[in-house]
């Protein structure tokens, strides 16, 4: 049972959240829903990268007066730095894409991707 929970927590849970985002990108037609799907993919990837650096019985990578004894009992700080970068990039991309969505609505008066492309829905 513990093994199954490990697999779910560290690999398949983040992967499942990522794939929910892929499913949303494939099925949704509303432009806001597409941006939300990209954000959900971000969440899954960030969880996966943080899980790579996790260690049992370790402490957060900050030197304090009482808690941390040596840095060999820290969790790995490098994935955390990468994910911090990724979150900030994701908010920049989201702001830009939302500006594009608003401009798109001003031009086409619709949020539906099918109507914008001019393809008949079957």
């Amino acid at each position: 049972m513990g093994e199954i929970i490990n697999y779910w927590t560290f690999i398949y849970g983040p992967l499942a959240i990522f794939l929910v985002g892929v499913y949303g990108l494939l099925t949704q037609k509303n432009l806001f829903k597409l941006v939300i799907s990209i954000n959900i993919m971000d969440l899954g990837v960030n969880l996966y990268i943080i899980a790579l650096g996790y260690m049992d019985n370790a402490s957060a990578p900050i030197y304090t007066a009482k808690l941390a004894v040596t840095s060999s009992r820290f969790v790995d700080p490098v994935p955390q730095a990468l994910v911090l970068t990724s979150i900030v990039i994701s908010v920049a991309v989201t702001a830009f894409v939302l500006a594009l969505v608003i401009k798109n609505y001003e031009k086409y008066n619709t949020l539906d991707l099918i109507k914008i492309k001019g393809i008949e829905n079957d």
Partner: protein, 249 residues
């Protein structure tokens, strides 16, 4: 029918990604840092009662030569070892904000979003809360090398205060030209400190100040200075995004 094919595609991706990942479960939880990092990093210690104290004794509050003397290791990765990455990250943020301003800035339909008339309590309390939120943001990015936090988080909190003013008062207007000046000033100062590193020490963004004592506010050399600049830049940029999204009168 469309959803059926979408689910089939997702399951195929799950099969290929998942089957490749199964043998790697061993690396979780028994992550051995000694295979990734050097002995110098592993034997760093900040307490007296450590088994490694004969090898490398560094006391919290007294030590003065642990590589860059930032208590927060994530901050030292972001601003010291990989500071060039942070410069690129700030550039990406700047480019995205430039795109937002180019798309929404001169639009004729870009009128201000007005809400229902806010009542007196909301109006007055938002003015009281504004300096407190700005102070909290500044606290977070000034103490980024000692406690969790840093420029990006603190900058977002400062921008959130602008967001609150826009939601609480219908006649509030951000002075966005000052924000642009602040943003370009802090971005330029980041580059200038990097170039000073070349002239004084020989490498871009290399530390040339005194390292100080670990755990004190004035420690870590260039780290707090660069994180304060990043915090000012991020707060100005995100405030400008709020200004452009809410529209002008």
């Amino acid at each position: 029918m469309k959803k059926f094919w979408a689910i089939i595609t997702v399951l195929l991706i799950l099969f290929f990604l998942g089957s490749g990942l199964i043998p790697d479960l061993k690396i979780y939880k028994q992550n051995n840092l000694s295979q990734k990092t050097g002995k110098v990093y592993l034997n760093r210690t900040v307490n007296d009662d450590s088994p490694f104290k004969e090898i490398d004794k560094k006391l919290y509050g007294e030590a003065n030569d642990v590589e860059n003397n930032a208590a927060n290791s994530v901050t030292s990765v972001i601003v010291d070892y990989r500071a060039l990455d942070t410069l690129g990250e700030v550039t990406v943020l700047f480019l995205a904000i430039t795109g937002v301003i180019a798309l929404l800035g001169k639009s004729k339909k870009n009128n201000r979003i007005l809400f229902e008339k806010p009542n007196y309590i909301l109006n007055a309390s938002s003015k009281i809360l504004l300096p407190l939120i700005v102070l909290f943001g500044f606290y977070i990015f000034i103490h980024g090398h000692i406690t969790p936090g840093g420029g990006f988080q603190g900058g977002t909190i400062v921008a959130a205060s602008v967001l609150m003013m826009y939601f609480a008062q219908n006649n509030y207007k951000l002075k966005n030209n000052r924000m642009k000046v602040l943003e370009s000033f802090s971005g330029l100062s980041f580059l200038i400190f990097g170039l000073l590193g070349i002239f004084i020490m020989g490498d871009f963004l290399q530390n040339f100040l005194e390292l100080g004592i670990m755990g004190k506010l004035f420690s870590g050399g260039l780290i707090p200075i660069i994180y304060i600049l990043v915090g000012l830049k991020v707060s100005a940029e995100l405030s400008n995004v709020v200004y452009e999204f809410m529209g002008e009168e």
